[in-house]
């Protein structure tokens, strides 16, 4: 119980801090709307968008219903291609596997493409503790790594950073490399990062990427990027390691096309990201270059358990970030306030399932149930319904506050007795109507200050619908 209480305080504190952080608010203000508008344009340009979303959902549902079979078929193909597949039950096991591969390869420098699963594993800290130099190469991830932070958005990791903050970070970290000018323009900042990271790309011993998809038909891992960093990470080092959740497998290349059509559109409003790449196995005899070894680390970390319960649809998630972009709560507090690697609606559903209910009581409640997340999801995950389900589960597990539970029970008791309910409601309704009918809204309601502090309450009609119904029925 005390752990729950401290987490609760921590979440409240984090959101308050986020709302008062002027840099964060400035950065989020700039980002707000951009992704939403671009997605709308992309949708308008594809009349078949909804049909494609249905197809995408069906593919994912089919895979999940046959997940063990597809994982085995995928594994077979990777082995045929000369690669190795490792299975990890937990984040710790997965980190150990990656660390062992690096050690065996006598690696010193590791480059990383963006991988949310590796964030979930806290892989960087484990590798650094093992004495490796780990460099994130996605520009957003690189900025966040320099700042000693974690990504605040699954596809735009540094969305919370202003240009001024990036200027300072680059100046602090690049001066010693000879980049002594303080650059402030976007183009110059991008060029400086490009130039600094170039040397790392060509000297890295191991490259670690995630996977947007794993294709059972060919054994390929698919990565989707705009920068090209994931491809340099996959193709230049001696060893390529792919970290992926077990739910990433899909049957065929044709299935891949369906999912790609909804992924980029939902994420950034693009029809295709600049680079969609399929990597299958290590260098072949006929290749003039490419990694000598190719490893895939498949992470479970609670996913197989999710398959069985009422949250299976969450495993359809393709990590596009549309639900974050459309969430008013995310847009106000940013990703870090959620306290773990996954934020926004998908994070509020996933975090309790992967990290435990006790430690994330506030997340499903930090939601207005406006349903935009559910409406925009490319694989039609009923996110807002799952958040409600979480709340119900919290109530069942007695994780919600005692007083709140009492109120809910009292309300339920009254509400299931219609005559009593109507009798009790008549006076307050009439009072509220009397007090507010001229303005059409109430500025204050006793005992509901938390609600009316920041908004007005629309004045109710003086008499309830049922009473009006009865009296009109009597007249006709």
């Amino acid at each position: 119980m005390s752990a729950v209480a401290s987490q609760k305080v921590a979440f409240r504190e984090r959101t308050t801090r986020a709302l008062r952080d002027s840099n964060l608010q400035q950065a989020m203000g700039k980002a707000r709307g951009g992704f939403v508008d671009k997605r709308l344009e992309a949708m308008a340009a594809l009349p078949e968008f909804d049909e494609t979303r249905d197809a995408a959902r069906d593919i994912k549902d089919h895979v999940l219903a046959n997940l063990d079979g597809y994982l085995e078929l995928y594994e077979q193909k990777v082995i045929e291609n000369g690669g190795q597949v490792h299975w990890a039950r937990t984040a710790e096991e997965a980190c150990q596997i990656v660390a062992d591969i690096c050690k065996e390869a006598n690696a010193q420098v590791v480059t990383k493409g963006k991988s949310m699963v590796s964030e979930e594993m806290h892989l960087n800290s484990v590798l650094e503790a093992a004495g490796l130099k780990v460099v994130e190469t996605d520009l957003g991830e690189y900025i966040v790594q320099l700042a000693g932070e974690t990504p605040s958005h699954i596809i735009a990791p540094a969305v919370h950073k202003t240009r001024e903050q990036i200027t300072e970070l680059f100046h602090e970290h690049h001066s010693k490399l000879g980049y002594t000018d303080r650059v402030t323009q976007r183009e110059a900042l991008v060029n400086e990062a490009r130039s600094v990271l170039r040397g790392t790309f060509v000297t890295a011993d191991v490259g670690i990427t995630g996977a947007n998809f794993l294709v059972a038909e060919t054994g390929a891992n698919v990565i989707v990027t705009n920068e090209g960093n994931g491809d340099l990470t996959s193709s230049l080092p001696r060893v390529h390691i792919v970290t992926a959740g077990i739910e990433k497998v899909i049957p065929s290349l044709d299935d891949l096309s369906v999912l790609l059509r909804v992924l980029a559109r939902s994420a950034t409003g693009q029809e295709m990201s600049a680079y969609t790449s399929l990597y299958s196995g290590p260098r072949q005899d006929t290749d003039s270059e490419g990694p000598e070894a190719y490893h895939v680390v498949l992470l479970d970390n609670g996913r197989s358990t999710m398959l069985g319960g009422g949250y299976r649809s969450m495993l359809r998630c393709i990590r596009c970030g549309a639900c974050l972009n459309h969430c008013p709560v995310y847009s106000a507090i940013g990703g870090h306030a959620y306290g773990w690697v996954y934020s926004g609606p998908m994070g509020s559903v996933l975090t309790p399932l992967l990290n435990g209910f006790d430690d994330s009581v506030d997340l499903p409640n930090a939601c207005t149930l406006n349903g935009r997340c559910k409406a925009v999801c490319p694989v039609r995950i009923p996110l807002s319904d799952l958040l409600l389900k979480h709340r119900l589960e919290q109530y069942r597990r007695r994780l919600t506050p005692l007083f709140g539970r009492f109120l809910v029970r009292a309300w339920a008791w009254v509400a299931t007795r219609p005559r009593l309910y109507q009798g009790l409601m008549a006076l307050p309704l009439w009072l509220m109507h009397w007090r507010g009918h001229r303005r059409g809204a109430l500025e204050h309601i006793p005992f509901a200050g938390g609600w009316t502090d920041s908004r007005d309450f629309p004045t109710p009609a003086g008499r309830s619908f049922i009473r009006q119904w009865h009296s009109r029925k009597g007249k006709s």
Binding site: K30, A31, E48, T52, D54, A65, N66, D68, G69, L71, L73, N81, A88, R89, T137, G140, I143, A156, P157, A158, R163, R186, N191, R194, L197, R198, G199, V202, A216, E217, N226, E227, G228, N229, L232, S234, L236, I246, P251, S252, L253, D254, S257, R261, Q270, E271, M272, Y275, T276, S277, S280, R283, T286, D287, S288, E289, G290, S304, L307, G308
Partner: protein, 218 residues
């Protein structure tokens, strides 16, 4: 780690079927679904393929020139001349590219690109009209590094290799006579990032410019 594998698969089976093992018959059904896979929910468009391809490629900040097969070197020289790039070409391979007799105006290299490589000239395995995408496959003379390390990437496209939908590329790959390509890159425009202030900036880590030389054979 076989223990982890066994346990994860057992967990999945128990979640899905209450622990019933998956029968060989069921596995064959899954294999059959993969083998008989067909495109689903494809976008419909009637545009002529070459026009659509060019229009989509330009929309993602790409440039192109339609050239005759005999004028491929001219096309390369015009592009690198316009951007004042040294004529040091890292060359890939393909039916059109292999036929070019390079003059002494250019230096040609047949090896992997490195961090100083300015220009690579590749030939596309195929191109996709739907999205303006070029498809490049790795191989003995077509290193993947050419697609990502240079500042300028010039790609030769045989207009007869432009297909309508992405899935048509999978069909071409499945029917290829050579061994399956280890790496397949679908490239749609030059490298870019939106990571600073959510504003697009070109030339993040990959090529700053993607220039196509489109050849229409009679």
């Amino acid at each position: 780690m076989t223990e982890a594998r066994t346990q994860i698969l057992a967990n999945i089976r128990s979640a899905l079927t209450g622990g019933e093992p998956r029968t060989p018959l069921r596995m064959n059904e899954l294999k059959a679904r993969i083998e008989s896979s067909t495109p689903k929910a494809q976008p419909h468009f009637e545009d002529e393929l070459l026009n659509r391809f060019c229009q989509k490629h330009v929309a993602v900040h790409g440039t192109y020139e339609r050239v005759a097969a005999q004028d491929l070197e001219g096309g390369v020289l015009r592009h690198i001349g316009a951007h004042q790039v040294d004529p040091q070409l890292y060359l890939g391979a393909g039916p059109l590219l292999d036929a070019v007799q390079w003059s002494d105006q250019v230096f040609t290299y047949f090896k992997s690109a490195d961090q100083h490589t300015q220009v690579a000239v590749s030939e596309a395995f195929a191109a996709i009209a739907e999205t303006g995408t070029v498809v490049l496959c790795s191989g003995a003379s077509t290193p993947t590094s050419h697609n990502f390390l240079p500042e300028d990437h010039i790609v030769v496209v045989d207009s007869a290799r432009i297909v309508r939908h992405q899935e048509d590329v999978w069909t071409l790959l499945r029917n290829r006579e050579d061994a399956a390509a280890r790496v397949v890159n679908l490239i749609t425009g030059p490298s870019k990032t939106g990571d600073i202030e959510q504003t697009i900036q070109y030339g993040a880590h990959g090529p700053r410019r993607l220039h196509l030389l489109i050849v229409e054979l009679a």
